[in-house]
Subunit: 252 residues, 2 copies
């Protein structure tokens, strides 16, 4: 057993609470039996599942913040559908250049079970966009599970919904991100933090580990581990410390 | 030092050879000095760099196969520009559902320095699409560095360009993928394989490790390690064995 931390305690609490709320029917319906044609047979065509994941897009989003969690969740076959949300529908350019289509608007998202807010250079502009922050806040309040990736926590913090909860963010943009939520109980040494319905992850690839944590929350540990295996991914579960907090001088 | 394997030998050979060919000017131009605003400041707006990475898209591509490598390469600031390529320009739907825009066609891609072929359910159809295979082969022949991710190796194998070279693929779609290239010297226990200008990776997230391997090939080890740190990513370098080959019963 790893040495318990505030973070692991918070996560343990959240997991226990939410495991009790998990839908056994959904757990039974979930299957990760290996397929001869491999992990990219998560669906025969495109992912259409029981829960809808709304991904918030804005110009300058970080690619992996968006597609890392989508990939991990898609490994739980037939359980998740992904909807790309933005202030306006249509093409949205990422920080890296590739353009992704926003399917629906934040004000008309349809039924969303899980809301994910990515980071990226665009967050530096969007923290000062009341239109995005307000519509995102309304949607987050109405959504059962809300997660942020990297500097997406700065956008989520601007809604005030993280006050005075524990949360984390990217460790190399930490000073800027945390300045966007002075009343948030920021946790520097956290790969990701779960508190109630909110999950906030550290930099970029921590989002994949957080997504697996969300799978564990929604289903069980075995399902999360099998999802990781399907992506041939070695899950860094929340019990691991965050080496990047120390690397970036945020903890001794 | 890890116990050398055929794979590490191949990679060592490729690295030594290609390090000698690396452009010192490019190495000097590369900088990964930490920024106070963090890793998602890879560029002020969108990535525009010295080398152009062409990503092959088709209906049913795997999201992380495309965006994992893009993310890692984008961590080397100002060095890479990303162009999404397909048989036709316009929207292409991924296996997971999100739609990405193809910027240019495979027959009019502009100057491409690195070609990446992702996997995904769509590969099951595209291996039998002579239009894609032929145009991809022409482009691959003309491109200095060619990589495949997951079952993307099945598409690359269909061009014949991997014959009789060592290559690998997704470990859970291994039987199907390897059947697409009977004359390829498939390596089961490999996180990724580098031989000459070709790099082939195992399932999904191995692509991020391979992309870091490509950064090491183009620049140096330190640059690759700093790119991984910028994404707060713990690089599983090629010296690590592939646990998924054993997990899927491909090796004892």
């Amino acid at each position: 057993m790893p040495k318990p931390t505030r973070r692991t305690f918070i996560h343990a609490l959240a997991t226990v609470t939410l495991a009790a709320l998990a839908n056994p029917g959904t757990i039974q319906a979930q299957t990760t039996v290996p397929s001869p044609s491999g992990p990219d047979t998560t669906t025969p065509t495109t992912a259409v599942g029981k829960r809808t994941v709304g991904m918030v897009l804005f110009e300058g989003f970080q690619c992996l913040d968006v597609f890392g969690p989508i990939e991990m969740l898609s490994m739980v076959r037939g359980q998740f559908t992904f909807v790309m949300l933005a202030e306006k529908t249509g093409p949205i350019r990422s920080s890296q250049g590739p353009v992704v289509i926003a399917d629906r608007t934040l004000t008309d998202p349809g039924e969303i079970d899980i809301l994910i807010v990515p980071g990226g250079m665009g967050t530096r502009r969007e923290v000062n966009n009341p239109g995005l922050i307000t519509t995102m806040k309304t949607l987050a309040v109405a959504t059962p599970h809300v997660a942020s990736v990297c500097t997406g926590s700065a956008l989520l913090a601007r809604t005030g919904l993280l006050d005075p909860k524990p949360a984390t963010s990217n460790k190399r943009a930490y000073a800027w991100a945390t300045s966007q939520g002075p009343a948030v109980a920021w946790v520097a040494e956290a790969h990701w933090v779960e508190t109630g319905k909110y999950l906030t992850s550290s930099g970029i690839y921590a989002a994949m580990d957080m997504a697996l944590g969300l799978i564990e929350r929604l289903f069980d540990r075995e399902t999360a581990e099998k999802a990781a295996q399907s992506a041939e991914y070695e899950w860094h579960s929340d019990a691991h410390p965050d080496p990047f907090a120390k690397l970036n001088g945020l903890v001794p």
